[in-house]
């Protein structure tokens, strides 16, 4: 079969790229190894043994970043809506109440109104307020979308602006764990993207969770005339004598196209490309996580806990690196998805806890030890929830814990990495002509980031190339 364009992977970036190409009459196919779309932010279900039926879970979704109110302009989310011709109301977004960065002696709250974080910094770090405002200016003036930027350490940059190390740690904590492929640091352009999407803009949650987003994207793609194949693994990216990508082998079949957009990760893409110049092989990132999901027979009353997401850390230094011992209970992200405003407060309650993990150690466990270790993680996370919601009387009715191995098993990201390689390709190009990287390893991640990556890479490499439709 011949196509104008092949997209590998039906995650957020692949679906978005597919929509843009199909919208302008490109003959496009999305090839997905899994049986359903969504990738790192997909969904699954588990039997509800008490009442029959099933409970639905999202793999990832804590928060949709880049929150905006209806009608706001010039924002990442408004760009996404316009480019995919989706309407704001389709997302049925509920804003967060507020979130907080909780360290031993001090907590900083932030919400979808940046003034809250400013006033929190002002009251807890009055001596740093001017420096914080300087940082805000620097972030505001920075062009993070410049595709020619190289790596620049955020820690080094922050050191020149903020003097109190504790404030630096607290600012970095949510930004690192929500989007850094690098250990203990992140590229400054990525810092700026994350600062804007978390602190300037904030969090929302679509009613119905990630399914709402995925079904909007799927519907758009199909309406635009694109085709999609599930349970179809790409096993090889084919090149010609000149070293240009010309097609793929998918489930044993040859599919040809002059443009190939891959969302499966940069190192993962290289592995499938026979003639990849070996000196340029990107490194696999080490950051991977464990997620514990608890379902209670009731929602946690707002009087007990009304925050949406807590970025918890038990010391003054925030360590962001693979856990020394299977998982790191020194820090965690605790998400209370019931605490988005204007959501119904009846029915079961859910809490999600994310810990940093260590892929190698999990990989080497026996089946039995693996299950036991997961129990240890679950117990630790359960205690942490109790600590944050001490007077909650609800009964635990279900729990599920997934590990780096689960992530690897269902998304085929090497080492269960969530934020991809530490070697990004910001303009999407690879040493192989006609083969482009989209999504996480183009340097834009999270749901909104990877969708925007799919859009902009499809525009740049699929639509603006001047080739005829």
């Amino acid at each position: 079969m011949n196509y104008d364009c092949i997209v590998i992977g039906a995650g957020m970036s692949g679906l978005a790229a597919g929509i843009r190409l199909a919208m302008f009459d490109k003959k496009v196919v999305i090839l997905e190894k899994h049986s359903i779309p969504g990738g790192l932010n997909s969904y699954y279900q588990r039997k509800n043994l008490d009442v029959g039926g099933v409970r639905h879970f999202d793999v990832g979704l804590h928060a949709l970043t880049n929150f905006m109110k209806k009608g706001e302009k010039g924002k990442p989310f408004s760009k996404l809506l316009k480019q995919l011709r989706l309407s704001y109301d389709d997302f049925r977004l509920h804003p967060q109440t507020y979130s907080k960065i909780q360290f031993p002696d001090v907590s900083l709250k932030f919400s979808n109104d940046f003034a809250l974080l400013e006033s929190e910094v002002n009251s807890h770090f009055p001596k740093e307020m001017d420096n914080f405002l300087r940082l805000v200016e620097t972030v505001r003036d920075f062009n993070e979308l410049d595709l020619t930027l190289g790596y620049r350490s955020s820690r080094e940059t922050l050191k020149q602006i903020i003097r109190d190390d504790l404030l630096t740690e607290m600012i970095l904590c949510p930004l690192l764990i929500y989007g850094s492929a690098w250990e203990d640091d992140m590229d400054f352009a990525q810092f700026v993207i994350m600062f804007k999407s978390l602190y300037f803009e904030g969090f929302g949650r679509p009613e119905g969770g990630v399914r709402t987003i995925i079904s909007l994207l799927m519907k758009k793609f199909e309406e635009a005339g694109g085709s999609i194949r599930f349970r179809t693994a790409v096993s090889e990216i084919k090149t010609n004598a000149k070293g240009e990508a010309i097609g793929v082998v998918a489930s044993g079949e040859d599919l040809m196209a002059p443009i190939i957009l891959s969302s499966i990760g940069y190192p993962e893409t290289v592995k499938l490309t026979q003639k990849f110049p070996s000196q340029k092989v990107p490194r696999t990132g080490a950051m991977t996580f464990l997620e514990s999901i608890f379902v209670y027979d009731q929602k946690i009353p707002l009087a007990v806990n009304d925050s949406t997401i807590v970025f918890y850390n038990n010391s003054r230094h925030y360590s962001y690196r693979p856990a020394a011992n299977f998982f790191d209970s020194a820090s965690a992200v605790i998400c209370f998805p019931d605490n988005y405003e204007t959501q119904k407060r009846i029915g079961e309650g859910t809490v999600r806890v994310t810990y940093m993990a260590n892929y190698e150690q999990w990989k080497n466990l026996s089946r039995q030890d693996y299950e036991l270790k997961k129990e240890v993680v679950g117990d630790s996370a359960f205690e942490l929830v109790k600590k944050l919601a001490p007077d909650f009387q609800g009964k635990l009715v279900f729990k599920d814990i997934f590990s780096p191995l689960t992530i690897e098993k269902y998304t085929w990201h090497m080492n269960g990495t969530v934020y991809g390689s530490v070697d990004k390709t910001r303009d999407g190009t690879t040493p192989v002509p006609n083969l482009f990287i989209i999504g996480t390893d183009q340097g834009f991640l999270g749901i909104v980031g990877s969708i925007l990556s799919g859009i902009s890479m499809a525009n740049l490499h699929g639509l603006m190339t001047g080739s005829e439709a």
């Binding site: 302008f24 302009k73 010039g74 408004s78 316009k82 480019q83 011709r85 859009i455 639509l463 001047g466």
Partner: protein
């Protein structure tokens, strides 16, 4: 197409790609970017829609010629004659 038909073609496209904009108040001689929330991605969409709906090709070096409604009409009219 007459000049006013070409003008309408452009307005229809803008209305579709930026549904939240009021296209009835656009001033012909003023920059579209300044009046509306349009960025370079949106200009790409105008170009792509011109190709899709009217088979008109606008090479990348000519994008600046789409800056105002007036310039759109004078640039596109010969192509859509």
């Amino acid at each position: 197409m007459t000049a006013s038909e070409v003008r309408q073609v452009v307005i229809d496209i803008i209305a579709d790609i930026a549904p939240d904009e009021d296209v009835t108040v656009i001033e012909d001689s003023k920059s579209l970017r300044e009046q509306l929330d349009l960025d370079s991605m949106d200009f790409l969409d105008i170009v792509m829609e011109l190709r899709k709906r009217h088979k008109v090709e606008v090479p990348q070096e000519d994008y600046p010629k789409l800056a105002t409604l007036e310039s759109c009409v004078s640039y596109l009219s010969p192509k859509m004659a």
